[in-house]
């Protein structure tokens, strides 16, 4: 393709005024480096949050700053954009940097927006993530499998699914294709507490997170929102309960923006619904399990893009389990450690995912837990050591775990004690 044919995108085009101010606000104090899981795993400050901000600030300066005005606006070279892309995508979008930022930069939204900008630039998204987008274009899911099969692996025959209900369960693509036991546990608990329905399988598309946040391509959002709103309304759903916090995050932030207002349904976590059922006495656990367990707060529940974190509902469920003793890890709640399994890291940097997952498992061991539970399908996959999208050598590394602590999904763990 000839160079002139490539549409030149303005580097500030996708950023809000607040984000432009935030680029300037970073003072490189380095506090975020102490909390960044990528820094823990790599020890490489060149891919740290301040370095990312510094690099992008230079782009803005060259196009719009004094430098640009004096010497003329200069097109950013492909090589520099590629270097920037490398450091930008070496990030799990966990938001720990924003949580501890001394000047309050909303880094999570900033990284999403910068990924969008890079994706729309002449260098585009990183090569390994193009496969995820190609799958979506064929199947409306990041996995190359037909939607018609999505309930067949995890939905047991003894679970009654209503045709229409106020509570809808969306197991997400992770629950359907990767972490089926999590989906089964959720369905068992929901069914114990009251009626629930499922979206028609052909209409249960991906929420968009892996493509929008992971790859940076936001162009799919309009059709996604249109499909989801219609699919949910058709089933009479008022609250759409999910087991993937990333689904909830994108439903809460971008869906209302593209829908043009408040959604006609409330996105919630299944754990929030189950905690309400426990309070109302609709669910009772009858079996006893003498075990010490720790709860891993997934990043998107501890540091959501919009609204308050969901930290108490999982603990309420654990505390309702007879015989189970709950302990906290050193880093829990808002400062929870990332498992490493999100934002495209499994295809991009599988070795880093393993390092981060191991760190988390060791932290659970230090807390004295027999079992670590989580409320996220991506965490489940990282911690259980499933191999989808992860090259084999990385998985072999799990052998060094020597199983220091057992791993389970919170809902599946609780469902076993009904």
């Amino acid at each position: 393709m000839r160079k002139e044919a490539v549409k030149k995108k303005d580097v500030t085009e996708n950023l809000t005024k607040q984000q432009l101010i935030e680029l300037d606000a970073c003072v490189s104090c380095g506090e975020c480096l102490k909390w960044c899981p990528i820094q823990d795993a790599t020890g490489d400050p060149s891919c740290s949050p301040p370095e990312r901000i510094k690099a992008y600030r230079e782009f803005v300066e060259e196009e719009h700053g004094l430098k640009g005005k004096l010497f003329g606006s200069k097109e950013i070279s492909e090589e520099r954009l590629k270097n920037f892309r490398d450091i930008l995508y070496k990030c799990v979008l966990c938001g720990n940097c924003g949580e501890v930022c001394e000047v309050g930069i909303d880094t999570k939204k900033l990284w999403w927006t910068l990924r969008k900008s890079v994706c729309e630039s002449k260098v585009g998204m990183p090569e390994p993530l193009k496969g995820v987008l190609a799958n979506y274009q064929k199947t409306r899911s990041p996995f190359p499998k037909p939607l018609t099969h999505r309930y067949k692996f995890w939905l047991p025959e003894d679970i009654k699914v209503a045709d229409k209900a106020e509570i809808g369960f969306y197991e997400g693509c992770g629950g359907a294709w990767d972490a089926q036991p999590s989906a089964e546990g959720a369905a068992r608990l929901l069914s114990a507490g009251g009626p629930f329905t499922l979206l028609d399988p052909e209409e249960a598309w991906c929420c968009g997170w892996p493509i929008v946040a992971g790859s940076g391509d936001w162009s799919i959002m309009p059709e996604l929102v249109k499909n989801f709103v219609a699919a949910v309304q058709k089933k009479g759903i008022k609250r759409l309960a999910m087991i993937c916090p990333m689904c909830r995050d994108i439903f809460k932030w971008l869906y209302p923006e593209f829908y043009g207002g408040k959604l006609p349904f409330e996105p919630v976590m299944v754990s929030e619904v189950i905690a309400e059922y426990i309070d109302a006495g609709r669910i009772k656990f009858t079996k006893i399990l003498r075990e010490t367990v720790t709860n891993h707060d997934p990043c998107a529940l501890a540091r959501p893009l919009v609204g308050p974190p969901v930290l108490d509902a999982p603990r309420k469920i654990l505390n309702a389990l007879p015989g189970v003793k709950v302990v906290e890890m050193e880093r829990s709640r808002e400062l929870t450690r990332c498992c490493g399994g999100s934002a495209g890291q499994r295809p991009l940097n599988p070795d880093l995912v393993v390092k981060m997952a191991k760190e988390l498992m060791y932290e659970a061991k230090r807390a004295g837990a027999d079992t670590i539970v989580t409320s996220c399908t991506a965490c489940y996959v990282s911690l259980v050591g499933r191999t989808h999208m992860t090259p084999h050598p990385a998985v072999d590394d799990y052998k060094h775990f020597e199983e220091p602590v057992k791993m389970n999904d919170l809902l599946q763990y609780a469902a076993a004690l009904l």
Binding site: P146, W154, Q180, T387
Partner: protein, 83 residues
């Protein structure tokens, strides 16, 4: 734990479903001597009792469809060489 249990007596419909879950080159079913060998999760080979002390038919790590097959199975072998 790495599950390499041999699935026996799998119907054509079940096989089609199973192949929809196991799609990665490192996470796929392998056919050997009329049995389907699982390649699921990672780490140390599981010999029929998971870290929760559950047997294959009740293994919480398995998708429901796999447990259903394992519950009607009588004899079990594990690992590629069938331990």
């Amino acid at each position: 734990m790495l599950c390499q249990t041999h699935l026996k007596g799998v119907t054509a419909e079940e096989k089609e479903l199973l192949e929809s879950i196991f799609f990665h080159p490192y996470d796929k079913l392998e056919e050997r001597n009329g049995a389907l060998i699982m390649n699921y999760m990672g780490g140390k080979l599981c010999l029929g009792t998971n870290d929760f002390g559950e047997n294959c038919g009740n293994c919480r790590y398995m998708p429901y469809i796999v447990r259903k097959i394992l519950r009607r199975q009588k004899d079990f072998s594990f690992g590629k060489d069938g331990k």
